[in-house]
């Protein structure tokens, strides 16, 4: 019962190393994953997120076995 978690770019540098999954028990949304993974209450508004490689909004639901990623605005190209 776990959800895989990834952080990229500035978020990866700012957060402690080694956060790569959270217990799925009691987790309903992407925001819940953020709170459990980072031990903070609010997901900053500039943070973007994905579930299983697709862009998603923080209020959207997640399931056991999903891969959730958090990252700042993309700057490719």
């Amino acid at each position: 019962m776990a959800i895989k978690v990834k952080f990229f770019a500035s978020l990866r540098e700012q957060l402690p190393e080694g956060i790569n999954q959270v217990d799925a028990d009691g987790i309903e949304t992407i925001s819940d994953v953020w709170e459990r993974a980072t031990s903070t209450q609010l997901m900053p508004s500039h943070v973007l997120c994905s579930v299983n490689l697709e862009h998603r909004e923080p209020h959207e639901s997640v399931s056991d076995g999903d891969e959730v990623a958090f990252f700042p605005p993309v700057t490719g190209g």
């Binding site: 990834k6 770019a9 500035s10 490689l53 990252f71 605005p73 700057t75 490719g76 190209g77």
Partner: protein, 144 residues
């Protein structure tokens, strides 16, 4: 249809020629391309180097999705996206988008779409090294 993520510098002209060679000769009448190149300045500072981080699986999936959408919206024959990752120096190409179609309008429009969609969807992040040695993440893309 092709997405290429390159860890080393690439030559856009070579990649365009290779892309065109995958299509039957005479099957297209137009090739439109865009090349994005690293500048040596940004936000008023001199930039000496840059590192491009990405989320490999998602980047590839998003770029393939962008090409699929272009093919559904315009009458094009094929499209190519080449994007650098890793360490980059000023003057190096960062990105190439290319589209082949029967006529120029679809090639131009789809090529512009590839770039704009890539800029907003593909999971790349730029970290600049300034002349002072300081590093900083680029916070947002330029409007265009």
């Amino acid at each position: 249809m092709s997405v290429q993520l390159e860890a080393d510098s690439f030559d856009p002209a070579v990649e365009i020629a290779r892309f065109e060679a995958t299509l039957p000769a005479g099957s297209f009448g137009a090739t439109a391309s865009f090349v994005g190149t690293m500048r040596h300045h940004n936000e008023g500072d001199t930039v000496t180097a840059m590192t491009l981080e990405h989320y490999p699986e998602m980047t590839e999936k998003q770029l393939q999705g962008v090409i699929d959408e272009a093919k559904s919206r315009w009458d094009i024959i094929d499209a190519l996206i080449v994007h650098r990752v890793g360490d980059i120096l000023p003057g190096n190409p960062i990105v190439l988008t290319a589209v082949c179609s029967a006529h120029r309008a679809a090639a131009f429009d789809a090529c512009r779409f590839l770039m704009e969609a890539l800029k907003s969807r593909a999971t790349f992040w730029k970290k600049e090294t300034l002349a002072s040695g300081e590093t900083r993440w680029v916070e947002k893309n330029t409007p265009g």
